[in-house]
Amino acid sequence: MSPEELQQIADEVREAREKSARQIHVCVAAGCLSLHSDKLKDALEKEAAAAGTPCQVKGTGCMGLCSAGPLVAVEPDGLLYQHVGAQDAGELIRGLGGEPLRDHVCSREQPFFKRQVNVVLENSGRIDPEKIEDYIAADGYQALLRVLTEMKPVDVIHEIALSGLRGRGGAGYPTGLKWETVAKAGTGSKYVICNADEGDPGAFMDRSVLESDPQRVLEGMIIGAYAVGANHGYIYVRAEYPLAVKRLGTSLREARRMGFLGSNICGTTFSFDIELRLGAGAFVCGEETALIASIEGRRGAPRPRPPYPAQSGLWDLPTLINNVETFANVPPIVRNGGAWYSKMGTAKSKGTKVFALTGKVKNTGLIEVPIGMTLREIIFDIGGGVPDGRKFKAVQTGGPSGGCIPEQFLDVPVDYDSLVQLGSIMGSGGMIVMDDTSCMVNVARYFMEFCMTESCGKCIPCRAGTAQMYELLTRISQGVGTHRDLDLLVELCDMVKFTSLCGLGQSAPNPALSTLKYFKDEYLEHIELQRCPAGVCEIGTAAEVAP
């Protein structure tokens, strides 16, 4: 593959596109697919063929506004339609060129779209995720060709370091520094792993990227492998994402067919290939050492670090392990330069971040914004605020490792460090909005139950500590908790946080700690008045009043 050949493929795709007057994009990512957008796509194709309309119907990835799905876009008119069903296909096709389906028009001028900056999601909803040619026509693999033909590994690492990109899995470790560490870890065999074991409740950023633009992740991984000197890679993806798994499988075959994977990539001496590994449903396997153990065929349990995977990872060899979104950021950084990327974001957190906006918010879906946007802008401008005239109460970020942030901190800019100061974390990008119908004791109890059942059981504080904390939270939520229970809960939170082996246990107390910090009166109301202010907890359901 040479730059000329790449250009030729891109030209062919563009030519085919120009032959048809219009392109109809139908979202076939998991959200819209659950509303039968596949049937809608079939109906559109049938209607177009029957009417002889010169248009191209294309299944694409996520367009972001999942609550308005199934979504259909008509290009080049720039029209977007929401809640489109198969029964609307005829009207849409017949009205092409005019303004069909007036009731279904979804404005692209609304803040939900206007306030976003798409880097990772630049192709989402625009290309067919199962066609590598579509990705190439959208400047895909240009970054890889440039890296292989013009750049030395150190130059690539320099560019990534310059961009200020930090790990998008949640910890925010500087990506350039991690790449450099692996690159310097000897000259023998090395591995690259893409962590696609997204497990936080309410988070679907990685799933959406894999379903909408999988080639981007592969290109990022290949560039990473070239930079650190690895010849073998793994994508560890959870089996609960069957569509992502299928599209990754297709993408890997397509990339091999084009010569972007395999021996002597693009005619150079560099060889690299990627294998898929499916997770078996353990949240803890998102922790890097547990993930590595799982790939090796062992029980998915974390081990103490150091040594970090950068020095001793998969099969005790230096291993570069990054999250899906981190790798997805790499091609645009190489294409546009690290300096371009570092212009976005805050002083210490550069670039954009994808968030999965869910819960009690008008516009739920997938958004990408520059880091440093305030929570208020994200929830009230982009999200459209809390529906049904209810009052905003808190936003939960970072899943079971994060915390609940109350209204008084809505104007805090979202970055890695600011949310840690508030007792939460930015995490991988889950954002659950809660209104006054949510009970914070119940929220803490829910996440504690999650951590308890997902603890691997290796270290005692996490295994037995989360179980005790869950019992205490249950007692409080049932109205049989005491002040002594509350004190014990605080003590346990502190102990589990500082003594647990891995990140799961160390961050498991966060939901409880943050609600105790900002909503202590709710806990006290449960204990002293046996009353749940939100009316969620089933007071008086305790089987027996324990001592």
Partner: protein, 239 residues
């Protein structure tokens, strides 16, 4: 020690000591008679850093570090006994007692149990957590030994000794979190295990009364795990 050995000097509890670069804080401390409480650690087996009792404070690190897997470093300042550590250790032991059904007075290991002696040495006077009282089984199908899950603390010493020393890998862990359970083969009765060599090493390394010899259930039957370092040394051809 070869002349080229890399020696580090560090301070543990205010005392200057020297150690080989490949030694852990726990090994260096033990050589100098500084006792750090341990439970999942056992000389001769690989370390997993799971029980968290050996956590120590190291100056300059905001994290507590497990002494059993943390290598010594030049100029390191380690503190093994602080009020905070003592409190955490007592809480961890309390969590273990409350997790399953530990009743010392009716235990085969009463008086010879590491969990019990640690509770004593760490000044544990009572269990502050409510007992969970899980309903757990016992497997006495093996002709000589038995495993009582009610007394198991999931330290995985049995799993490691069976895999690393005996090479049978009869034991493993099933489930996760508080549902974790030690199993033989693919969760088959121990007595029907085709991999078990009946060597009894697991029984000797078990720190509690979870694994025991059916013929020796009287009070104060001591277990003897000290064969391990000796066995390893002989295998490596040292003497």
């Amino acid at each position: 020690m070869s002349p080229a050995a890399d020696v580090k000097t560090l301070i543990i509890n205010g005392t200057d000591i020297s150690a080989r670069a490949d030694q852990t804080i726990l090994e260096a401390a033990t050589e100098h008679d500084i006792r750090i409480p341990t439970l999942c650690h056992l000389g001769g087996l690989s370390d997993v850093g799971a029980c968290r009792l050996c956590l120590v404070e190291v100056k300059g690190s905001n994290r507590l570090l497990p002494a059993c897997v943390t290598k010594v470093a030049e100029g390191m300042e380690v503190t093994t006994e602080t009020e905070r550590l003592a409190k955490y250790r007592r809480m961890i032991l309390g969590l273990l007692f409350a997790e399953r059904n530990h009743v010392c007075s009716i235990c085969v290991a009463n008086g010879a149990c590491q969990l019990q002696s640690l509770a004593e040495s760490q000044g544990m006077t009572h269990v502050e957590f409510p007992y969970r009282f899980p309903s757990l089984s016992m497997d006495a199908t093996h002709e000589r030994f038995a495993i009582d899950h009610n007394r198991c603390i999931l330290c995985t010493r049995c799993v490691r000794v069976c895999s690393e020393i005996e090479g049978a890998h009869t034991w493993d862990v099933r489930g996760r979190g508080v549902q974790s359970l030690i199993i033989s083969d693919l969760n088959q009765p121990w007595g029907t295990s085709e991999t078990c060599t009946s060597c009894g090493k697991c029984v000797q390394v078990c720190p509690t009364g979870a694994l025991f010899d059916k013929g020796k259930v009287g009070s104060k039957v001591r277990k003897n795990p000290d064969f391990l370092p000796y066995l390893n040394m002989m295998r490596e051809g040292r003497s």
